[in-house]
Amino acid sequence: MKTCLVVDDSRVIRKVSRRILEDLGFEVAEAADGVEAMAWCSAVMPDVVLLDWVMPAMDGMEFLKRLRAEPGGQRPKVVFCSGETDLARIREALEAGADEYIMKPFDGGIVAGKLASLGLAA
């Protein structure tokens, strides 16, 4: 079973994401910010990270840069999932090493499509 780490400071978003991902057959873990997410990844790298941008403690961009610098940190696919819809910001996320980008609000169809395009059918 493939694993997905959902990183978002909103409990509601984490809950919605978990339901969508579990329906898609993923094993889901949750983190409320980049610091928690780094701790999780240091223990075990997930197959994919669904990553919010604006969070307390450590934001999504900082987490992404640190993750990619970790041993094995290139392997997880990272899908930003953010309310930021400015194309320059989306370009910035992709250039920093994100594999895909989802603009909030989203639904199960969008998440399924993005993950399938990354070869991540669970």
């Binding site: 819809t85 194309l87 989306i90 370009r91 895909e100 969008i110 499509g113 993005k114």
Partner: protein
């Protein structure tokens, strides 16, 4: 609730005008599809709208009723592997066979344009294809064509099937919407075409894309439309149907389960 006689009228009208199969037993479906059009046209309910079309035979209203019954659902790069096969194999092979003549592609039920624009983006990104391919698109619905030509898509639409890298490469933000670049929009020529009419005046095409329309048509209309599309194909041309649609006749499935069919023959084409 829409009266049975009115549902029968809608089914007969759609079948006669556009070959569409509308099940008069599914009143809820008719009601849900007609409701937005009825509101737009200023009627209090779908029932009132259908009754008015039936009573006064207004041609424009009748067409808007028919158009409302077409299932418009599509998305960018729907069934991505089909577009990859077209850009990687089908179009390069045809371009070689045409030896300098442009490869003519027609998306014959284009809806809001996501499929033909998907292909346009792939062509634009491939230096061996750019400038070698002419793209045409048509639809029965004037409203769909207007939306397609505007090239404005909602946040929801650009997240269905469109990779983020493609989004940032070819779109600009326009308020809450996303506007496709003029460069890509200008690659496509548009026309309103009813596939129930004779298509001979449009000339011949190397690739005809008509995905997921046949399954919405009545059986006799399916055969008639496939026949017309086949006659609009140049020898050696390719027909692209939905993944579960069949062409039959002398069109040979190209394998891979992608809905690609080949018309036998060498690359000889008559002009429009």
């Amino acid at each position: 609730m829409i009266p049975v006689a009115d549902l029968d009228f809608v089914a007969a009208l759609c079948r006669a005008r556009a070959g569409l199969r509308v099940d008069p037993e599914k009143g809820y479906l008719v009601e849900s599809r007609v409701a937005p059009v009825a509101r737009r046209e200023g009627f209090a309910s779908p029932e009132a709208f259908i009754a008015a079309v039936r009573a006064d035979g207004d041609a424009r209203l009748a067409w808007s009723l028919v158009e409302a019954m077409v299932l418009p659902e599509t998305e960018f790069f729907r069934d991505r592997q089909v577009f990859d096969a077209l850009a990687r194999d089908v179009l390069p092979a045809l371009a070689r066979a045409r030896a300098g003549q442009p490869v003519r592609v027609w998306s014959a039920a284009c809806g809001a344009g996501q499929e033909i624009y998907s292909l346009a983006m792939l062509v634009a990104e491939d230096p061996t294809l750019a400038g070698q391919v002419e793209l045409f698109a048509s639809d029965l619905s004037e409203r769909s064509l207007e939306k397609a030509q505007a090239g404005l898509f909602s946040q929801f639409e650009v997240q269905r099937g469109l990779p983020a890298r493609t989004l940032v490469r070819h779109f600009e933000k326009a308020g809450e919407s996303f506007a496709l670049s003029p460069r890509i929009r200008q690659m496509v020529r548009w026309r309103r075409v009813n596939l129930m009419d004779d298509l001979a005046r449009f000339g011949q095409f190397d690739v005809l894309i008509c995905r997921n329309l046949l399954t919405q048509l009545a059986p006799e209309a399916q055969a008639a439309v496939v026949g017309r599309l086949k006659r609009a194909l140049a020898p050696g041309g390719r027909l692209v149907l939905g993944l579960r649609e069949e062409a039959g006749g002398e069109l040979t499935p190209m394998g891979g389960g992608l809905g690609l069919f080949a018309l036998p023959g060498d690359a000889v084409r008559t002009a429009a």
